[in-house]
């Protein structure tokens, strides 16, 4: 899966789970936390989805805004983990 495909999967999950299917112009670079799209429970749900869908283990020390706070960041993080 390339970065675009990963971003599409993430966006589909986020829109469906946190935005009740309403895209509302969500951009890849939008901060999910600052925009109030994802709360603390949402972070756990996002991690569960990433682990399940992309077959990677998100370590505790990797639960950082730079890895998870936007679709763009999360896709780069996932790609990096898969290529390790």
């Amino acid at each position: 899966m390339n970065k675009c495909e990963i971003e599409d999967k993430l966006k589909e999950f986020i829109v469906e789970t946190f935005l009740f299917g309403q895209d509302s112009g969500l951009k890849s670079s939008d901060s999910l936390l600052k925009k109030g799209i994802v709360d603390s429970t949402g972070v756990i749900e996002l991690i569960d989805f990433i682990e399940r869908t992309f077959q990677i283990k998100v370590e505790d020390e990797e639960i950082l805004p730079e890895n998870l706070d936007s679709i763009d960041h999360a896709a780069s993080y996932i790609l990096g983990k898969q290529n390790r």
Binding site: D39, S40, T41, V43, I44, D60, E61, I63, L64, L68
Partner: protein, 323 residues
Amino acid sequence: MTTVSREALKIDCAVEIERIKNSIHEKVTQTLRRRGAVIGLSGGIDSTLVAALCVQALGKDRVFGIIMPEKESSPESTEWGRLAAESFGIRSVIEDITSVLEGAKCYERRDEAIRKCVPEYAAGYRAKIVLPGVLEDERLRVYSVVIQAPDGRVIKTRMPADVYLTVVAASNFKQRARKMMEYHHADRLNYAVAGTPNRLEYELGFFVKNGDGAADFKPIAHLYKTQVYQLAEHIGVPAEIRSRPSTTDTYSLPQSQEEFFFSIPLERLDLCLYAHDQGMKPADIAASVDLSSEQVERVFRDIESKRRAARYGHMAPLLVGSK
């Protein structure tokens, strides 16, 4: 540069007690039109202070304390709850809520959820859930479950969303069962229910909706925790209760309020919350609270995030038909 100091949270205890006393009296007798106050006594400083304030406002014969242990409560909670009632001369009763919780399958539902993460978790094991501290690093804070086996081994693992939500939902039975019992006695006596949150708990959402978040009046919700300590000392809350660390007394393993929710020592959080609400800059207050500027920024972000999450807890039922 505006900075913050502990002096900012110093209050004139006599004046503040008088103000709260008058307000309780007016609210209970005039607004709520009830004949007294019921208080759940946890054995902690907040509920003991509320009991003392209600005694000053309404008289000791119009205040009723309820001590509500369950099988996982610390025995100290009952002991200090009794001491609180005796110290201020109020009537009290012990209501063990274990059977209510067993009837609701509180323990069973929680333990079944925990076993999804830790299959060996069984009778004799103890558990709690914890958050990483906010000061250490930039990590987004997600809960882990900590298990202690009978042989002393400790297992800590992050919980998936369904486990986390189920563990919390099951544990919330405890606060809701207690509130149900408080309202039973309030109905029986024609009294109002006093809530016991301090400002940190109330504003940052450290309460269970329709559990300890429910009450008819909340006399100390405007007070920072350090102000609670000042008033408690002034009004004569026993030293044993004042020196007891703030605990949740909700899980079978001892759990501080800091590791469960607040993530930094409460005295520091008081100052950070005050500074945040006064519009002070992290760099300006960092030295006064003995933190780095980056750490204060993280605390500020955490305050904002907790406030956002607390909105739901504070919301009254929404009337769909209204415009």
